[in-house]
């Protein structure tokens, strides 16, 4: 009857269906091979000797000491980092001062430094052969190959995480709300806790989440600084390496599986934040 009905409209702002399916297929294969396969391997290798092997591995004193060490480090490093991030964001977004751009570059700097080089820096600064390190050791306050060194290494590699999540959000929100609170007679702290903090809480939580994942998982910097002393300075990731190098495969992959589950939990919480509170996160996080 009509010729027009026979020609279907050709969409001009997307690809033809065949190309679409091909691209989706290619992406799926890539994700399966490069992301999912390694993740699945961790759990498969951990369960190679069944649950008995997993439980035996978790009972090892070295494994338990490493878990305790990692939890302690994260429990101290993350709040310190959050405090720094909030302080830096407040100073940077609420005031106008010289050298601000340079300061932001400095805060981002740890991202472009190799973790091993970060560890090296701490060894050079606080190691036994430096003046400062020698003095600290003489006064019974060793930093390298001890707890404070691991903490400093963790702080270095996680340094920008919280600050760079909340700075864009605080820039977007401006300072008018805080100024209004102050004119209405609120004190500085009250303004912060009742006006600023609620505005940035989801972005802060997001930053804390990423910071915590990195704090628990850092390997290179901690491996250099800690000396990897079993039961004393070994963290979960460095213990994974030691078990692996001793051919204790199940023990290595069991600890790795615990870390992988923490990573999955992190991803889950992160996705929930992105879906539920997208409008309160930095613009680049809203997808």
């Amino acid at each position: 009857m009509s010729d027009i009905a026979l020609t279907r409209p050709v969409p001009v702002t997307t690809e033809p269906p065949l190309a679409r399916y091909l691209l989706i297929g290619l992406a799926a294969v890539f994700v399966a091979l490069f992301l999912f396969a390694p993740l699945v391997t961790v759990f498969v290798e951990a369960l190679r000797q069944g649950w008995v092997g997993v439980i035996d591995a978790l009972r090892l004193p070295d494994a338990q000491a490493a878990i305790r060490m990692t939890l302690t480090i994260a429990a101290i490093a993350v709040p310190l980092n959050a405090t720094f991030g909030i302080a830096a964001a407040w100073a940077i977004t609420k005031f106008d001062f010289r050298g601000k751009a340079f300061l932001i570059t400095l805060i981002d700097l740890p991202f472009s430094v190799s973790p091993v080089v970060a560890g090296l820096m701490l060894v050079l600064l606080f190691g036994a052969n430096s003046t400062l390190g020698g003095w600290l050791i003489a006064n019974d306050m060793p930093i390298v190959f001890a707890f404070p060194g691991i903490l400093l290494a963790t702080l270095f590699v996680t340094f920008p995480f919280v600050a760079r999540e909340i700075i864009p959000v605080m820039i977007e929100q401006g300072r008018t709300e805080e100024e209004a609170a102050l004119t209405l007679g609120a004190s500085g702290w009250r303004t912060f806790f009742t006006v600023t903090l609620p505005n940035i809480r989801w972005a802060l939580l997001y930053g804390v989440l990423l910071c915590n994942a990195r704090a628990m998982g850092e390997f290179g910097a901690v491996a250099v600084v800690s000396g990897k002393i079993r039961g004393e300075t070994a963290t979960m990731p460095t213990m994974v390496e030691m078990f692996y190098n001793e051919y204790l495969s199940v023990a290595a992959f069991t600890l790795a599986a615990v870390l992988a589950m923490l990573a999955l939990l992190t991803l889950l919480l992160k996705s929930l934040l992105e879906w539920r509170h997208a409008e309160l996160l930095a613009a680049t996080r809203r997808h």
């Binding site: 472009s112 973790p115 080089v117 290179g220």
Partner: protein, 279 residues
């Protein structure tokens, strides 16, 4: 303090406190350690530094770290763009799941990724056995290092390009189509140039991360001197020998390489922004 540093007055309180906390932590955690490395370099002196870096083993390690990072980041440039495009433009079952999974390399500790990839690609692993009939060996070769660095760098490209694709105005593509351009032509001449700065930024971030990567690489690399020994590992080896000067020399070389790279790629970005701005 306030009057000296502030450029314009602000009615808000807390400048001294927040600025003080920021500078204290920044100094102890970042500035002092970097100063210690650079200071060590100055004490050794440029001539001796050069002598220490100028050995075959160190050059091999530095060029390997750089070359493998470059290859992996180029690979990620292509597949990162593909993933970002598919995630933003197409609707398919499991899209949100894949979207969340892209961040796995950020969340998974590098040592865990390292032993998992090694188990997969080792001669007795699932992928290792599958590739063996074709004469391909991945684990304990340079290809293994590429695989580890592809894993590490992927989210950088996807997460930088994805928001830019989301912001693309459909008008541009419609105009291009009404003017008679075929879809491939529109993609190449309209969309790709718009995405170039984001692609380069993602590439730069992946590259900077990959050059210094340690945890995921050392298990799969095999660590044969002059062949598959990366620069960060060489620093660790020198430190274990208590040869702090040699370790510092390699560390300074790596710092120089990564800063030079960031500067170069920043320049490309400025150039490409200006070019697009003029169109």
């Amino acid at each position: 303090m306030r009057a000296g540093i502030l450029r314009s007055p602000s009615p808000l309180p807390g400048f001294g406190l927040s600025f003080g906390i920021m500078m204290t932590v920044l100094s102890i955690v970042v500035l002092l350690p970097i100063g210690a490395l650079l200071g060590r370099g100055l004490m050794i002196g440029p001539a001796d530094l050069w002598d220490m870096v100028n050995s075959r083993r160190i050059w091999s390690a530095l060029t390997l770290s750089f070359r493998a990072a470059l290859i992996a980041s180029l690979f990620n440039l292509v597949f990162g763009l593909l993933l970002a495009w598919v995630l933003v433009r197409y609707r398919f079952w499991g899209r949100r799941f894949v979207d969340a999974a892209v961040d796995l390399p950020f969340a998974l500790p590098t040592a865990v990724a390292g032993i998992a990839l090694t188990a997969l690609y080792a001669p007795n692993g699932v992928f290792g056995q599958a590739l063996a009939p074709f004469g391909l060996q991945v684990a304990y070769t340079e290809v293994g290092i590429w695989v580890a660095l592809v894993f590490i760098g992927l989210p950088f490209v996807v997460r930088t390009v994805q928001p830019v694709i989301e912001e693309l105005e459909p008008d541009l593509e419609e105009v291009s189509a009404t003017l008679g351009a075929r879809r491939t032509h529109t993609l190449r001449r309209v969309i790709l140039p718009t995405l170039t700065p984001a692609l380069l930024t993602g590439f730069a971030l992946a590259l900077a991360r990959s050059v210094g990567e340690y945890g995921s690489v050392i298990f799969i690399a095999g660590n044969i001197p002059n062949l598959t020994e990366i620069a960060p590992l060489l620093i660790v080896i020198r430190l274990e020998e208590y040869n702090y000067d040699a370790a510092a020399a390699i560390g300074i070389a790596m710092l120089v390489v990564s800063f030079a790279m960031l500067l170069a790629i920043n320049a490309i970005q400025v150039w490409s922004r200006r070019r697009i701005g003029n169109v």
